[in-house]
């Protein structure tokens, strides 16, 4: 067996042993000492300890190391083994340092109740933790895989080491933040969808209960909210996305004609996309204000744009204003790369401006158009800031989009499990739509 294969085996052993490793927690309350044991996988999904965020990083790195070693990429395997070992060791250090570990409070409190100790949360002063032998063996395995599987450090081999590892050094910062702050919370979010959770106490695993309620229990509030929210979100996407394409395209075409001051206008059009959603919405709030708004003053009307039938129009205007800049830049770049000889050939054939646009410009812009269509659809499915700040629930549920319900249920009402299930359904919808669009894009490219 080669060193690489042994290292791969050890990296795999780490993942397997992790599943059987555990921790023992001990505390003393009112002279009664209780101890409980908890397996690592269960601990991982307790959702209430910051050091636990390092575990997914360690697992992902160990799997990456396993794959690298299998492919005989010793240096890469060594790097990922090292990351996994360090992440796991850091987790063990920081987790042990937590004086009152929230992840372990629930089983500890159950043990205290069993021991018939009357206590309040604040009486549980210190929960000390110790890892079992399996945890240390798992750590030893991944550390050994790094030691055994490494490539050569010989002077004449260092260029190979540099060649193998340098690309990872470039992506390492992004990868770290992606795994810890994006992928891990996303995994936890998906897990939370299968629980009953009030954000304060430990989540209780309920299997598919939330999805069953959301999809089949027509008498339930959340069933209705999902339908209304998703319906309104789709309504908004259908209303808004065409303008998110047409308006920036028109502006890009206009600027492409190089009018006087085009650079200034380009900067002005791009400016809103640099602003935060709060700035954008608060600005438009004043523009559309019933009493003092410039729109009502200019047109001499007293319309309340925050109420039906104007609400959707206002939300589309605000969104298009905000999104135009970034899409416009993509179109400008695409327009600049349309071959001039095609225009010239079209002109020779007697094509007018409109014919040139439809027969030369558009066919050359299919890819950027499809790309912006996908990104616009995904972005508008995630609409939240505009309706939440401008309208909230002031129109009852007439304009409520799904993310408003998700936010309100999870943060305000602390119904986090159900909200996560709603978020997962929204995510799946976006994935399906994006997948179809991507397929169309690829097909178009092949043609």
């Amino acid at each position: 067996m080669t060193r690489s294969k042994i290292a791969a085996f050890l990296a795999l052993a780490f993942v397997v042993l992790f599943c059987f490793a555990g921790v023992t927690a001990t505390t003393t309350v009112k002279d009664v000492t209780v101890s409980v044991e908890m397996g690592m996988p269960k601990l991982l999904f307790s959702l209430s300890s910051a050091p636990l965020l390092l575990i997914p990083l360690a697992i992902v790195a160990a799997v990456a190391a396993f794959i690298a070693f299998i492919q005989n990429e010793k240096n890469v395997g060594m790097l990922f083994s090292f990351v996994a070992a360090v992440s796991f060791a850091l987790f063990m250090v920081f987790f042990s340092m937590e004086e009152k570990n929230s992840a372990l409070y629930t089983p500890i409190s159950e043990a205290l109740n069993l021991a018939e100790v009357k206590f309040k949360k604040r009486d549980v002063k210190l929960i000390s933790t110790s890892f079992d032998i399996m945890t240390y063996i798992a750590l030893a395995c991944i550390a050994l895989s790094c030691v055994i599987g490494h490539g050569s450090f010989a002077k004449d081999q260092r260029h190979i080491l540099k060649r193998d590892l340098l690309p990872y050094a470039y992506i390492a910062p992004h990868l770290f933040f992606f795994v810890v702050f994006f992928m891990t919370p996303a995994i936890y979010g998906i897990y939370a969808a299968f629980t009953k959770w009030d954000l304060f106490n430990e989540p209780v695993f309920t299997g598919l209960e939330n999805f069953k309620t959301l999809l089949f229990d027509s008498s339930n509030t959340y069933y209705k909210q999902l339908r209304n929210g998703l319906g309104n979100t789709i309504k908004f996407v259908v209303m808004c996305v065409p303008f998110c394409i047409i308006v920036p395209l028109s502006v890009a075409l206009a600027l492409n004609a190089r009018p006087k001051g085009n650079k200034l206008f380009q900067a002005l059009y791009y400016l809103p996309s640099l602003m935060s959603i709060s700035t954008v919405t608060l600005t438009w709030r004043y523009v559309f204000n019933v009493q003092y708004g410039i729109v009502n003053k200019c047109f001499g009307v007293k319309a309340n744009f925050f109420m039906p039938p104007y609400t959707w129009i206002m939300l589309v205007i605000v969104t298009v204003w905000w999104c135009t800049g970034s899409t416009m830049v993509i179109y400008q770049s695409a327009l600049a790369s349309v071959p001039q000889d095609q225009y010239e050939a079209a002109a020779v054939d007697g094509a007018g401006t409109i014919q040139k646009f439809f027969n030369v410009t558009l066919p050359n812009m299919v890819y950027p158009l499809m790309y912006t269509l996908v990104t616009a659809v995904v972005a508008q499915f995630n609409i939240f800031g505009q309706p939440d700040i401008l309208v909230g629930f002031s129109n009852g549920e007439a304009n409520a989009v799904l993310l408003q319900y998700i936010y309100e249920n999870s943060v305000k009402k602390q119904v986090a499990g159900m909200s996560s299930a709603m978020a997962v359904i929204l995510g799946l919808c976006i994935m399906v739509v994006s997948f179809i669009q991507m397929r169309m894009m690829v097909k178009n490219q092949e043609n």
């Binding site: 929230s102 509030t221 019933v290």
Partner: protein, 410 residues
């Protein structure tokens, strides 16, 4: 040797002096923003200037923000304020989740805080399982403002002669004013939750929200009558429309009777309106009640807080109570510290009628374990039942269903 000894002594004296000058820093979060926030900051500054042992750092934020931040702050155990002001309705839920520490009554008594000094309607509601969790700063509620100039102009004072305005009188005074040429609006439908819960309290004794303390069980007949009354006033043209800016209408002399919080008094004074305050509009004067709440000082669970800090907090709370004339004068609130009742300046303020010990029973302070869920669900139906988007029966059913589903899903 002498030099070393002198150096050590100087250091010891320096440390002793530094220790003597040590100031206890207190983090204080409140739900006061806007005008109220400025008044509260002034009171905090006054406390800080009044002594040099305690320094209070005030962080104002909207109530929504505070109620969202607090559970996460307490759970993570970092950045927990030493003292915070919350609405009294929220306290049972915080206690149930073990998020609050009860006051050590012996310790707070050292700072002068005893139950007898406070409005009992508010104080007693935060006695839970033999422990005390809240010290009230004020009681505040939704009452009625009338435009005195318009009442004089259209000869409507007969309708307020007994100190109360009934729903029948709203119609009668509206008809009389319009007959005399008044073109504005008679009565407003504003913050529906506060308005409706005040009227609901008038019809169900004990302003009931729950039978078992956990699940929501409205008195449906009472709630239906309240909603039907609002709807009929709206349909008969006596109330503002959903799109109306009712506060501007009142300031501009286009609204006769305005249901609003007592905290708007300063704004009404600033607008230069000649006004009078009355209890909430009622079905019968004998059963008149208004929706009330109370801002309470509470201490969220923080294991690292010392007894010294707890005492400093108690001194601060006591100062706020004893000096709450400013709170009454500038913020228009009704202080919960009973010492204010003996202050002549306070007695002459329009909101002082809410401090009358005989009216304590009329203050409808709701107190329900899942108030937050109920508040959201109730606010949601807002105008929908008035303008007919949903029927009244459906509105009531929707509120109950939403709360029940949220409890089940938590």
């Amino acid at each position: 040797m002498k030099k070393t000894l002198a150096l050590v002594l100087s250091l010891v004296m320096l440390l002793a002096a530094a220790n003597a000058m040590a100031v206890t820093e207190i983090d204080y979060w409140s739900v006061f923003t806007g005008g109220d926030g400025a008044v509260m900051q002034g009171m905090v500054d006054a406390f800080n200037a009044s002594q040099d042992e305690v320094h209070v750092n005030h962080t104002p934020m909207t109530a929504d923000d505070l109620y969202q931040k607090i559970p996460l702050t307490v759970q993570t155990g970092t950045g927990i304020p030493d003292v915070a002001v919350v609405h009294i309705e929220r306290i049972p839920n915080f206690v149930a989740k073990d998020m609050l520490y009860p006051y050590d009554m012996e310790l707070v008594a050292q700072a002068g805080i005893v139950a007898e000094n406070y409005n009992q309607a508010a104080w007693e509601r935060t006695d839970i399982d033999g422990e005390h969790y809240g010290i009230p700063l004020d009681v505040h509620g939704y009452i009625t403002y009338i435009n005195k100039d318009l009442f004089d102009k259209y000869d409507l004072n007969e309708f307020v002669a007994d100190g109360y305005i009934t729903f029948d009188e709203i119609r009668a005074l509206g008809d009389k004013a319009r007959a005399a040429g008044f073109t504005g609006q008679i009565f407003d439908l504003g913050w529906m939750r506060a308005q409706l819960l005040g009227y609901y309290a008038q019809l169900c004794d004990g302003h009931k929200l729950t039978d078992d303390g956990v699940n929501l069980s409205l008195d449906k007949d009472a709630m239906k009558k309240v909603m039907e009354t609002m709807k009929s006033l709206y349909e008969d043209g006596y109330t503002t429309q959903k799109t109306d800016d009712y506060s501007s209408m009142f300031y501009g002399g286009e609204l006769l009777v305005w249901s609003e919080g007592i905290w708007m008094k300063a704004a009404v004074v600033d607008a230069g309106v000649n006004f009078e305050m009355y209890p909430a509009v009622c079905f019968e004067p004998s059963t008149c009640k208004e929706w009330m709440s109370s801002h309470n000082f509470v201490q969220f669970a923080d294991e690292e807080r010392t007894e010294e800090e707890d005492l400093a907090v108690a001194k601060f709370i006591n100062f706020m109570g004893e000096n709450s004339l400013t709170w009454a004068k500038d913020a228009g609130q009704v202080p919960a510290h009973v010492s204010l009742n003996a202050v002549e300046e306070y007695a002459s303020m329009p909101q002082a009628f809410l401090s009358d010990p005989e009216r304590v029973d009329e203050l409808a302070i709701y107190y329900y374990l899942h108030w937050g869920l109920f508040d959201t669900a109730f606010s949601r139906v807002g105008w929908d039942f008035v303008d007919g988007t949903i029927s009244i029966d459906d509105a009531i059913a929707q509120i109950e269903q939403e709360v029940a589903d949220a409890i089940a899903a938590q």
